[in-house]
Symmetry: C2
Subunit: 348 residues, 2 copies
DNA sequence: AGCATATATTGACACGTTTCAAACCCCCCT
DNA sequence: AGGGGGGTTTGAAACGTGTCAATATATGCT
């Protein structure tokens, strides 16, 4: 009624300028390089901003400047605690730099990964942290050609020197788990794997076999591989039959699982048959998700520095964005075996 | 060397138009209202798009149209499985509609929530699904005034009729847990709570007390409240002392926990003292996160339809965005008690 | 053939911001 | 008095797209 503009257009930089008796360029300077504008006018402009409740329009902003303040983070599965811990690391590091993180979820589908990468290109994201769904780098290289650099996470194998990468030494993790079981006297181990198309699974298995070999055992005879479709608890639970196949005599003495979800599922499956760990079977997981310490018995597992992984990835990305003479780097963390209650010495 | 434009400007709608021998407006039409353009020219334009590897610039796009194709989802904690399940629901529903979801994390800090909301305003997000950190609606109302509508999740109490909301009936959940324990013969129950400033905790407690009252028990005598700083496993484990305080005689017969993380922590704490559930103590959780079914014994818990919650919230948001005569709606789901191994009849 | 109607395409402008060369002001120095 | 030189401020020109009234082309009808 009283106010004349019912269709209240959002207030822009020009309105602020008018209200402060100043040119639009000056307002922009106050926003972006405050040091260049005299204190008195800066205060005047800031007051106008407050009084008009002005909020920046990032579309206009990035249209003109060609860049954005947000980085993408592409994960395989938002519900997997491993990924969310990594995401927290990425986010903390980015926030400190004033960058916003948009979390995208490929759900392990190449199709959705493709869509997400395209979205990042359309939005002219400043950069991205990516956990690719497979080792096909074509889409990733396309994204880089579009001007969006990225850092590879948990997948050192995809690119040679085309980008930075951060990963954990899966071979060493496999060896650590293997040595632990061998020291406990286990000479027959099943490897409960996810899809062997995943490099992580293959390398962890290779580590296990290497540990066997260094102890004079024949990997081919001592290690049995059980492949699953996915790396989740459901698969772990279902595969209990196959793990136990052959009767108590030929039963493996221990199981090394490709990740904790599989291990937890397996433990549940054992419980459902009246079997216990480590009494009937020693079990080792991988990742050290929070719940690994909560179940009873605690899950012996190979810990990855999840949070640090995320931080490091973001740090490399920031270096690529800010440092003129940035050189690609491959960071590799060491895993750590955490011994809990689910493994014990071989008896009988 | 051979190519003349080393500074390769990204290809825009104009380049496509030129390459297809057509006006920019037509290209725009092909992109946005393909039905309005003749098939032959459409094909020509699409070919040009492919040949030039054109990718839309969403800055220009949304600068002109004043709107975006992305919606925000603000959660309290990315690492909490309850939230990630909800996020998956939101995401699935949004993706079907061609909207991108940016996941923002307030980490339960009002400050970070404020930043996130401002970001949504600056980016002119189409809308948002929000789990507010407290019941102060000021910032939310500001966001709505800026033209970004939102749906409230898991917090029916914050707004009256100012927005849609989706939640689960916490009072009913408390009653269900209470009745279950009473039926098992437990007449002394501790409520292991998070911060009582959270409405969810208070209402679940109220439900428990109501169940007591309807059975002729005096809630004040039968229910003891143990408040924790946070809703995580660490707090749950630490509070085992307080739960057991008073020795075996006065020990509560059962514990109802405000969420599963607390319950899982408590179970671990019990195990650490050589006590078991349900042998020494019946335990009920809340949420039914995935691991609740994996631990041994399985955790009896009040399940919330997490995924559906997310989908429903997004659906309401879409209705608000698309339907001209949208009316705000308050959706309330019913929780469901899942009985597993951690509760048993009172003995002795 | 001539006209009305439907269908396709065009072209210029506006969206809100950043950028940058140019203009301005004020003070100090010669 | 005249210049020179900081530090400040200005104004206009992009950035890439969507919109819409206007124009061009095709179609159907008398």
């Amino acid at each position: 009624m009283s106010s004349s503009d019912d269709a209240k257009r959002p207030v822009g930089i020009n309105d602020v300028a008018a209200h402060a008796g100043v040119s639009p360029g000056t307002v922009s300077n106050v926003l972006n390089r405050p040091e260049r504008v005299a204190e008195s006018t800066r205060e005047r402009v800031e007051r106008a901003i407050r009084e008009l409740d002005y909020v920046r329009n990032s579309s206009g902003r990035s249209l003109r400047s060609g860049r954005t303040d947000s980085v993408g983070m592409l994960v395989l599965d938002v519900t997997n605690p491993f990924f969310t811990q990594v995401a927290r690391g990425v986010e903390d590091e980015a926030t400190e730099e004033g960058l916003a993180v948009v979390l995208l979820n490929s759900a392990e589908q190449a199709q959705r990964q493709r869509q997400s990468l395209r979205l990042l290109a359309e939005q002219r994201a400043a950069g991205a942290v990516v956990m690719p769904v497979d080792s096909d780098a074509a889409d990733l290289l396309w994204l880089r050609k579009q001007g969006v650099p990225w850092v590879l996470l948990d997948r050192g194998d995809v690119t040679e020197d085309l980008a930075c990468s951060v990963s954990v030494d899966n071979h060493a993790g496999g060896i650590a788990a293997g040595r632990h079981l061998i020291n406990l006297g286990h000479e027959q181990v099943s490897f409960l794997s996810g899809p062997l198309s995943m490099e992580q699974c293959r390398t962890r298995l290779a580590g296990l076999r290497a540990a066997m070999a260094e102890s004079g055992l024949d990997p081919d005879a001592a290690v049995r591989v059980i492949e699953n479709e996915q790396l989740n608890a459901e698969c772990g639970e279902k595969s209990v039959e196959e793990v136990l196949a052959g009767g108590p005599r030929r039963r493996p003495q221990a199981v090394f699982c490709a990740n904790d979800q599989l291990a937890l599922g397996l433990l549940k499956g054992l419980g459902g048959r009246g079997l216990t760990s480590p009494g009937d079977l020693s079990v080792v997981g991988y990742d050290d998700v929070d719940v690994a310490a909560l179940v009873h018995p605690g899950l012996t597992t190979v810990a990855q520095p999840k949070y640090e992984l995320g931080r490091a990835a973001m740090r490399l990305l920031l270096s690529e964005l800010n440092d003129a003479e940035h050189r690609h780097e491959r960071l590799r963390f060491a895993p750590e075996l955490i011994v809990r209650g689910s493994t014990a010495a071989y008896r009988e």
